[in-house]
C-alpha cells in the first residue's frame, strides 16, 4: 500500500511541476531526514562504454559523466537551468552576452583547482568540430568563450539566445582540466578527472562500474552515498528479477510490458514520469507522395492516438499532436487531439490524387524494439484509411548509415530536449542539424528564430504556440505518442526524482533509508 501511495504522490507532484522543490529548489527540505552512507546498486540496460564525458552518447554514459564531472549549469526537472559550477548568471539586454560566476575552491579529483580557464578550454574543445562531440550544435550560436578573472566566464553569441543557460546543461558540456585537454585528451577514455560528486574506482564494460564518494565535493554534505555500483543487465527480465530478489536497489529502465508487475510487487515501487520522449514517423516532404500535404494529413487522421499509447507503450505514455512538444515542456500549447477518422483520410487521399489508396514501405530500426511495434500498429490502423504500408526492419548500424536523414518514410526515435527551441532546431527548422523531413517552412523558421531571441515568457509562449499549431496542420512528421520514463526502486531508496528528459539523474541526492540492507 505504501508504495502505491508513494508513486501516486510522485506522479501528482511531477505533473504539477512541483517536483522541482524536491530536487533543486529547496534542498534543505529533503536533507532534514537524509542519512549519509550506504551503497546504491543500480541496473542499466545498455552498458556505459565511453568514459570521456564530451563523447558520451547514451543515458548510462550521461549518468557516469554526471557523477564524475560537473557542468556550468544543471537541468531542473522543470526544464530550467539550476546552479552547478556557476552560482549565478546574467545576460546583457538583448541576450547576446552571458556572464557566469563560478564557485570558488572547487577541486578536480587530481587535486587541481577548477577555474575559469578550465571552463573556457572545455567549452572550446566541445565546440571544436575536430573533437566530434555529440551535441556540439545543441549549445547554441556561441561565438566566443572568454575568462574574466579566475571565477568569471563570458560567453558571447552570434545572435541573441535566451536559452543559453539551459543549453549549457547539455550532458556532454562537462568541465575537465585545461592541461588535460591540451596534452592528453584521449586519456579521459580511461582515467576520468572531474569535479563531480563521485570518483571512479572500477570500470568493466558490459559488467559494472563502481563509483565512490568524492569527499571534496563542492556541495556541503553531499553526496549521501558512499558508493554507487552501476551494473549492466542487457535483458529487462533479468534486471526486474534482480530487483525483486534484492540483488539491486534500483532499475534505471523498466520495459513498459514489465512495469505493472514490478510496481505491484511488495517492497519496490515503479517510477513513472511523463516525458517528451517520442517516436515519430518521418516523411520526406520533398518527394512524392509526401510533398503533398494532403497525403501527410490523411496519414495523421489514420492514427488512433489513445489506442497507440495502449498498444505501443502499454498505456504508459501521453498522446501526441504531431509536434515534438508536449506537457513536459515549458511552452506546450494545448490543443484538441486529432481524432481517428479513416473516412476523412480516404477523402484527403482521393483529393491528393490517390483514390485507390497508396502503397508505402515504412522502415524501422530494431533498436529500440518499439519502433517496429509502432510501424506494425500504424500499418494496421492505416489500412482503413486507404494506406497499404509494408514494414521493413533493419539493424541499427545499417539504419544509421542508409536510412536516417536519407530515407523517405521511416520511424525516428528522439529523447526529450531541454528546450522547445533545441527540439525544433534539431529536427524541424530549415537549418536543423537533423533536417529529416526537409519541410523548410519559412513561417515556422521565423517563429522559432524570434522565440530563440526573446526573453519575455509571454511572447515566447505565443511564438511557440504558433510553431506547434503550424506543425499540427502541416504534419512534416507524424508524432502519435510520447513515452513516459519508467524505472523502479526499492522502497528504502530515498531522494531520487526521475527526470522527464531522461538524461539527468542527481544521484548525489539519493540516500538509503534505515531499512536498507546493510552493506560494507
Amino acid at each position: 500500500m505504501k508504495s502505491q501511495l508513494n508513486r501516486r504522490q510522485l506522479l501528482k507532484l511531477s505533473a504539477a511541476g512541483a517536483a522541482v522543490a524536491l530536487t533543486y529548489g529547496m534542498p534543505g527540505m529533503s536533507m532534514a531526514a537524509a542519512k549519509a552512507g550506504g551503497t546504491l546498486k543500480l541496473s542499466v540496460n545498455i552498458t556505459p562504454g565511453v568514459l570521456n564525458p564530451m563523447l558520451a552518447r547514451a543515458a548510462a554514459e550521461y549518468m557516469m559523466s554526471e557523477m564524475l564531472y560537473s557542468g556550468l549549469t544543471a537541468l531542473g526537472t522543470d526544464m530550467t537551468a539550476q546552479p552547478d559550477l556557476a552560482t549565478k548568471w546574467l545576460s546583457n539586454d538583448n541576450a547576446t552576452q552571458w556572464t557566469f560566476t563560478l564557485r570558488e575552491g572547487v577541486k578536480f579529483s587530481n587535486g587541481q583547482e577548477l577555474t575559469s580557464a578550465d571552463v573556457v578550454a572545455s567549452l572550446n574543445k566541445l565546440l571544436d568540430p575536430q573533437t566530434g562531440a555529440p551535441g556540439r550544435r545543441n549549445l547554441g550560436p556561441i561565438k566566443t568563450v572568454e575568462a574574466d578573472g579566475d571565477y568569471t566566464v563570458v560567453v558571447t553569441t552570434e545572435t541573441p539566445f535566451a536559452d543559453l543557460p539551459v543549453a549549457l546543461t547539455y550532458p556532454t558540456a562537462k568541465v575537465v582540466p585545461a592541461d588535460i585537454i591540451a596534452n592528453d585528451f584521449d586519456s579521459l577514455a580511461q582515467v576520468p578527472v572531474g569535479s563531480g560528486p563521485f570518483k571512479l574506482q572500477d570500470f568493466r564494460v558490459d559488467e559494472i562500474a563502481v563509483l565512490v564518494k568524492n569527499a571534496d565535493y563542492f556541495v556541503q554534505g553531499l553526496p549521501y552515498l558512499n558508493r554507487v555500483e552501476v551494473k549492466t543487465f542487457p535483458d529487462s527480465a533479468g534486471s526486474s528479477a534482480a530487483l525483486l530478489a534484492g540483488e539491486i536497489d534500483m532499475v534505471h529502465d523498466v520495459q513498459s510490458t514489465d512495469f505493472a508487475r514490478i510496481d505491484a510487487a511488495a517492497g519496490v515501487s515503479g517510477l513513472r514520469t511523463p516525458s517528451g520522449r517520442f517516436l515519430d514517423v518521418v516523411m520526406d516532404t520533398t518527394v512524392a507522395p509526401f510533398d503533398n500535404v494532403l497525403v501527410r494529413q490523411a496519414l495523421s487522421y489514420c492514427v488512433d492516438r489513445e489506442a497507440m499509447i495502449e498498444l505501443v507503450a502499454d498505456g504508459y505514455g501521453t498522446a501526441g499532436n504531431d509536434s515534438p512538444i508536449n506537457a513536459a515542456y515549458r511552452y506546450h500549447a494545448d490543443a484538441p487531439h486529432k481524432s481517428y477518422d479513416p473516412k476523412k483520410a480516404k477523402e484527403l487521399l482521393a483529393q491528393a490524387g490517390y483514390p485507390d489508396g497508396l502503397e508505402l514501405e515504412l522502415i524501422a530500426s530494431v533498436k529500440p524494439g518499439y519502433r517496429s511495434t509502432m510501424a506494425v500498429v500504424l500499418r494496421e490502423m492505416a489500412k482503413a484509411g486507404g494506406f497499404d504500408i509494408s514494414v521493413k526492419t533493419m539493424d541499427h548500424s545499417s539504419y544509421l548509415d542508409q536510412v536516417w536523414k536519407k530515407g523517405k518514410f521511416y520511424v525516428g526515435f528522439y529523447n526529450m530536449m531541454p528546450t522547445e527551441g533545441m527540439s525544433f532546431n534539431l529536427l524541424f527548422t530549415s537549418g536543423a542539424s537533423w533536417n529529416e523531413t526537409k519541410w523548410n517552412n519559412a513561417e515556422f523558421d521565423e517563429y522559432v528564430r524570434i522565440a530563440d531571441e526573446t526573453t519575455d515568457p509571454a511572447k515566447r509562449t505565443e511564438l511557440y504556440a504558433n510553431a506547434q499549431s503550424l506543425m499540427r496542420e502541416q504534419v512534416p512528421a507524424l508524432i502519435p505518442c510520447f513515452f513516459d520514463i519508467l524505472g523502479a526502486k526499492a522502497d528504502y531508496v530515498n531522494g531520487y526524482v526521475q527526470h522527464p528528459r531522461g538524461a539527468s539523474f542527481a544521484f548525489h541526492k539519493i540516500w538509503m533509508g534505515s531499512d536498507a540492507p546493510k552493506t560494507s
Binding site: 510490458t257 498498444l311 530494431v366 506494425v376 494496421e380 514494414v391 521493413k392 526492419t393 539493424d395
Partner: protein, 279 residues
C-alpha cells in the same frame, strides 16, 4: 517413376517413414491452403481480446494485439515451410554443382576449392548466416539465400566424394575412353548416382533449414513484422512472455512438430534408399 512408387511403398512400411510422410504431406497442404483455412485475418487486431487463452473463438488464444494465433500459425506455415525447402534446394543445388565440378576436374583446382570449403565449414553455420544477412539486409528471402550459402559447403563435400567414387567406376572410365563429352558423363553417369544420398541429406537438411530460418527470424534478421513467421512470432512474444505463454507455445510447438516431421521422413528415406540397410 516405377522406382519412385517402389520407394514410396517401402517408406510406408517403416513406422518412421509412414508417420513422416503423412505429417509432411499434411504440412505441405497447410502451407498451400493455410491462408484459405484461417478463420480470421492473421493481422487484424482484436482490441478487446488481447492475451486471450485458447477458446472456441480463438483456438490457440490471441497475442498482445489480440491477433488470432491459430490463424497466424496456419498462414505462417507457408513462409516457414516453403522457404525452408527453397533454402535447402538452393544449398543442395549450388553445393552439388561445386562438388561435382571440383571432383570432376580434380588437381589443384579441387584442392583449392576443398580447402576453402574446409575453412568455411569451420565457421559455425549460424555465424556465417548472421554475417551474410547483415551484409544483405534482413528479409525472409535473404535469410533463405544465407541458409543456402551456409548449406552449400556440406553438400559440396558429399557430392564431391560421390563424384570421386563414381569417376573410378568401370563404366565411367569406359565412357571417358569412348571420348564422351564431359558434360554427358556428368549428366548421364554421375548425377543419377548422386540422387539417393543427396535426397536423404536434403530431407534432413529441410528440418535444419526450418530451425535455422526460425532462429534467424528470432534474432531479427529474417521475416519482417507483422508477418506470422513462427520464429519472428516467438521473438516478438518474448517481451510479453510472463503475461501469457500462448503466443510462445503455439509457434514453438509448431516449429518442433514440423522439424520432427522432416526428421522422421529423412530417417525413413535413409533406411529405404541406403543400400546397406537393404539386406
Amino acid at each position: 517413376m516405377l522406382s519412385t512408387m517402389k520407394t514410396l511403398r517401402a517408406l510406408m512400411r517403416s513406422p518412421q517413414g509412414a508417420v513422416g510422410i503423412v505429417l509432411v504431406t499434411l504440412l505441405l497442404l497447410i502451407s498451400i491452403f493455410g491462408p484459405l483455412l484461417a478463420p480470421q485475418d492473421p493481422e487484424s487486431f482484436n482490441f478487446g481480446a488481447r492475451f486471450s487463452p485458447p477458446s472456441a473463438e480463438f483456438l490457440f488464444g490471441t497475442d498482445w494485439f489480440g491477433r488470432d494465433l491459430f490463424s497466424r500459425i496456419l498462414v505462417g506455415a507457408r513462409s516457414t515451410v516453403l522457404l525452408a525447402i527453397l533454402a535447402t534446394v538452393i544449398g543442395t543445388a549450388s553445393g552439388a554443382l561445386i562438388g561435382i565440378f571440383s571432383g570432376f576436374v580434380g588437381g589443384w583446382v579441387d584442392e583449392l576449392i576443398m580447402r576453402t570449403i574446409d575453412a568455411i565449414m569451420a565457421i559455425p553455420g549460424l555465424l556465417l548466416a548472421l554475417m551474410i544477412l547483415t551484409v544483405l539486409g534482413s528479409s525472409s528471402l535473404n535469410a533463405v539465400i544465407a541458409i543456402g550459402i551456409a548449406f552449400a559447403p556440406g553438400m559440396a563435400r558429399i557430392s564431391r566424394s560421390t563424384t570421386l567414387a563414381v569417376r573410378e567406376l568401370d563404366y565411367v572410365s569406359a565412357a571417358r575412353a569412348r571420348g564422351e563429352s564431359k558434360l554427358w558423363i556428368i549428366f548421364a553417369e554421375i548425377l543419377p548416382n548422386m540422387v539417393a544420398p543427396v535426397i536423404v541429406e536434403a530431407t534432413i537438411r529441410v528440418a535444419f533449414a526450418i530451425m535455422t530460418l526460425a532462429t534467424l527470424s528470432f534474432l531479427g534478421l529474417g521475416a519482417q513484422p507483422p508477418s506470422p513467421e513462427w520464429g519472428l512470432m516467438i521473438a516478438e512474444a518474448r517481451e510479453h512472455m510472463f503475461r501469457s505463454p500462448w503466443p510462445i507455445l503455439a509457434p514453438g510447438i509448431s516449429i518442433a512438430l514440423v522439424a520432427i516431421a522432416f526428421n522422421l521422413l529423412g530417417d525413413g528415406l535413409r533406411d529405404v534408399l541406403n543400400p546397406h540397410s537393404q539386406e
